[in-house]
Amino acid sequence: MKKYGGMIVVGLLALCIGLVLAVQVSTTAGTEQGGLVPLAKLKGYEVALKQIQDEKEAAVAELMELESRLAAIEKETADEDVLISGLVMDIEKYRMAAGLLDVKGPGVLVTIKDPVITDEYLDDVSVITYRSELLLELVNKMKEAGAEAISINEQRIVQTTEISLAGDNININGSATAPPYYVKAIGNPDTLSNALSIRSGIIETMKKKNNLTVDIETKDEIVIPRYTGTIGFKFAQPVSTDQEE
């Protein structure tokens, strides 16, 4: 018995070392970004996000209030002045066309998620982020199918909207976005969904060639937010016919 005592000790020793190693490896495994992070840490980020979203909501509410006051004054004056009443109507129409108003209507919601993690698709590589042209193409196809308003992750697509890879994220309207992507479009729901899901079309390309998880849903009512960026021109000047007169 005494003969095997040493062996048992060594055996236990080896077991423990193995255990420690396994634990150690599992804590630092995976990515160069630092591996796994306890969920508790995420809570802090959730709180911060909630805070900033509340702040944004408050700011939007303030803006809406101001705009309604402006509209009231404009309307009041418009009742007395024909010129101003014409202007008020034109501004309203242009704002609608420019994407400066919140809109609602029937349409589709396309949800794009990164591939389920397998050996081939590692966790820290976001396929959709590095194939941002897929989003660009999707938006183009939606416009072709007659979409009247489009947004990606609540960023309204307007005349100046870019969809481009900047660092590790896709920038839309100059602000960084992260997956999953929710693309909303208002238009004829059937036309939109059928046009997008045509064989070897954009949705199938995303699914089959890029292994993305893509869902397309038709909705009776979708709300698309306004563009919140500022409008300003540094290079362009109007060439108006009035000036030449």
Binding site: S68, S164, N169, T177, V239
Partner: protein, 247 residues
């Protein structure tokens, strides 16, 4: 005997170490998320901050306008004050018109010309490699927007909010009008930034040239981009969301 004590000591030491590590990583909750999730959260938070800043700018603008309006109201609608208001609104309308793309505009910018390649095809090579596609134009337009282009047109057709660019056989359809090669893309904006983005080592123009497609960028002191002639469209599906549903 002495040897066994040492062995036992090492064993206890390792078990203790294992326990400490184990307890440290299971501290609090048992669940873990990947570091990517954290970065994604950070990204969203940062972008929300940017949009709050932008909204605050809009609030400041609205306040300014309100001040102007209220001061005109004080003087009980004399002719001059109404004129103030009118000119302010006309200015806004002009800005909106430029933004939407209805106004003809001029300014410094670039002219990009792309055409199908003329090189000999390699044996068995796909002709598509040297042709210009809708996605090429779309990518160039997107790249220009990224570089802050303020107005863009393709073969004279102004690119507006709802413009789609799509291949239909041998031609490309833009705003419902059909165009064939060559494609001339004009953009008003920071010419240096746009041309260097397109022609840089990672630029899209450089990669097109690599395929054999003809690609040329010219910087212009002044170029004119025509307004969109399609006029305002009527909307069949979308309607405005009012702040208060009562009115």
């Amino acid at each position: 005997m002495n040897k066994r004590v040492i062995m036992g000591f090492i064993l206890c030491f390792l078990i203790g170490l294992g326990l400490v590590i184990q307890s440290r990583i299971t501290d609090g909750q048992m669940l873990y998320v990947s570091a990517k999730t954290i970065t994604d959260y950070q990204t969203v938070i940062d972008s929300e901050k940017v949009s709050v800043a932008e909204i605050e700018k809009l609030i400041a603008q609205a306040n300014e306008t309100l001040e102007l309006y209220e001061s005109t109201a004080d003087r009980s609608n004399t002719e001059a004050s109404v004129e103030d208001m009118t000119s302010k609104m006309e200015k806004e309308l002009m800005q909106l018109g430029m933004f939407v793309g209805f106004e003809t505009v001029k300014g410094a910018g670039v002219i990009v010309t792309i055409d199908d390649g003329t090189r000999e095809l390699l044996y068995g090579e796909d002709i598509n490699n040297v042709l210009v596609h809708d996605l090429d134009i779309l990518t160039i337009v997107n790249e220009m927007r990224r570089c802050g282009a303020e107005a863009i047109s393709v073969n004279g057709q102004r690119i507006v909010n709802r413009t789609s660019i799509s291949c239909s056989g041998y031609t490309v359809r833009i705003n419902g009008t059909v165009y064939a090669r060559p494609f001339v893309i004009r953009a008003i904006g920071d010419g240096k930034r746009m041309s260097s983005a397109l022609l840089g080592p990672q630029g899209y123009g450089t990669s097109l040239k690599g395929w054999g497609v003809q690609f040329k960028v010219e910087m212009e002191e002044e170029l004119i981009i025509d307004g969109y002639t399609g006029g305002l469209r009527t909307y069949k599906y979308m309607s405005r969301v009012k702040g208060d549903e009562s009115n």
